[in-house]
Amino acid sequence: MKVDIKMTRAPLSSRGVSVADGRCGALVEFAGVVRKEEGERIIEGLDYEAYEPMARLEMGKILQSLAGEFPCASVEVQHRVGLVPAGEASVIVRVESKHRAEAFGLLAAFMDRLKADVPIWKSVP
């Protein structure tokens, strides 16, 4: 499984899902987007802080540990750090796989693990 992990302060970019490697029948892109409402408050954005070397390492380990159960062709993760304005993506995950079941499975499991174990913290600035 090809894995690509990027952490950046710049806005994340989506490649879209209209064309894929001809061996893959499923392509999924997921974006986690900062909502304007945090509880009862209207916010301008969220500030993301990361322990970057460990965050990369941990994301790689999580993906490798999921590759057996959900064998996909490739996974790209982009996570933004610093201030992310409301309406923009804090994380984008793109998965290509032969069939959709493993792409959906990997994506859902990865997001659960990301939110449980990857050293990234958000706060209202």
Partner: protein, 82 residues
């Protein structure tokens, strides 16, 4: 500089300690002793001990881990990425 352990603080722990990192001179210290040492210096950390994990050189540490010189030990409070 080559016989020092660096301890990293993130998120609200950084505000509690007032610093992103602290260097500690030690020959080797167990996880529980490191906590004692840190809480002695920053008592407010005590309230955050539960729920905060330790990582050593970018890897979550076992409860019985021993940290030594040149290790980078991070206090990882509950994460909220994604």
């Amino acid at each position: 500089m080559d016989s020092v352990m660096r301890v990293l603080f993130f998120a609200h722990l950084k505000e509690i300690t007032g610093t992103h990192s602290a260097d500690i001179s030690t020959e080797g210290v167990a996880a529980s002793s490191l906590w004692s040492l840190l809480i002695e210096r920053w008592p407010a950390l005590l309230a955050h001990r539960e729920g905060t994990r330790l990582a050593c050189n970018g890897i979550y540490a076992e409860a019985d881990a021993i940290f030594g010189n040149n290790d980078e030990v991070a206090l990882i409070p509950p994460v909220s990425g994604g």
